[in-house]
Amino acid sequence: MKWRSFTYRDIYKGVAGKLDLEPSKTKRRSPHPVYWYVLDGRRVIRVTLPNRHGGSGAISTGFLQQIKRSLRLTTREFEDLVECPLSAEDYEQIARRTIALHSRPS
């Protein structure tokens, strides 16, 4: 499937750029940068992206699977997000739906 061949550049443009993710400002031990998806002023989804500079580097299947899982997307939705058919507004609807499913009022 296509998603397994996504590069750092694809992910950065199609995920961090399109969704306007907010970079974490906390000093980190891990080499990988962390971003937050902000909804209604709250940080709701935390995504770790690979620390691979140069743009065309391949990302391991395991790492891509975690990005997809963090974003709460199916394989098809993840491919659509990175390759453009899925807009930021479409993703917001998915995020609202999945967050509502996973979270119960406390």
Partner: protein, 151 residues
């Protein structure tokens, strides 16, 4: 695969287990009656898709971590984690309840990176104020706050 008995005849226990071989649009089953029923392209595509899904599945197992690798951060109890090994040899160790993961080329490397990720998440959530976090990150903080004590 068909095996043969000492006299050279096919072993009846394995003769029928031979995997069918796809030739174009017909199924050719060696030693059996040729089936000339056409196979729809959509069926082949569906089959290929199912093989892809199986190929991307990881081998999974669970293990525990008892120490986070920094003296100042003490684990109150062992953490149950999931390790996944993918076909491209990448290994992911994750703590599903707080969505933390570490990745590497081996299980020890993935575990070491998971520990860094958990420490980073702990520090990040400790700095954050509750109103700025969604429900799930607040739940992660409750889990980590119970699990980790800082000396």
């Amino acid at each position: 695969m068909t095996t043969f008995l000492a006299d050279g005849t096919p072993d009846p226990r394995t003769r029928h287990r031979e995997a069918p071989h796809i030739t174009g649009i017909t199924w050719d089953v060696p030693g059996e009656v040729m089936r000339d029923e056409p196979i729809a392209r959509s069926d082949l595509d569906d089959f290929a898709g199912r093989v892809e899904v199986l190929m991307e599945r990881a081998v999974k197992w669970t293990t525990q971590i008892r120490d986070l690798g920094e003296e100042a951060y003490l684990l109150q109890e062992p953490i149950q984690i999931v390790v996944e090994e993918y076909r491209d040899q990448s290994v992911v160790a994750r703590f599903p309840e707080v969505e933390a993961f570490g990745e590497g080329h081996s299980e020890p490397e993935a575990l070491a990176n998971l520990k860094l990720a958990i420490l980073d998440l702990y520090d990040e959530l400790a700095e954050a104020t509750a109103p700025t976090l969604g429900r799930e990150p607040r739940a992660w903080w409750r889990v980590l706050d119970r699990l980790i004590s800082v000396a």
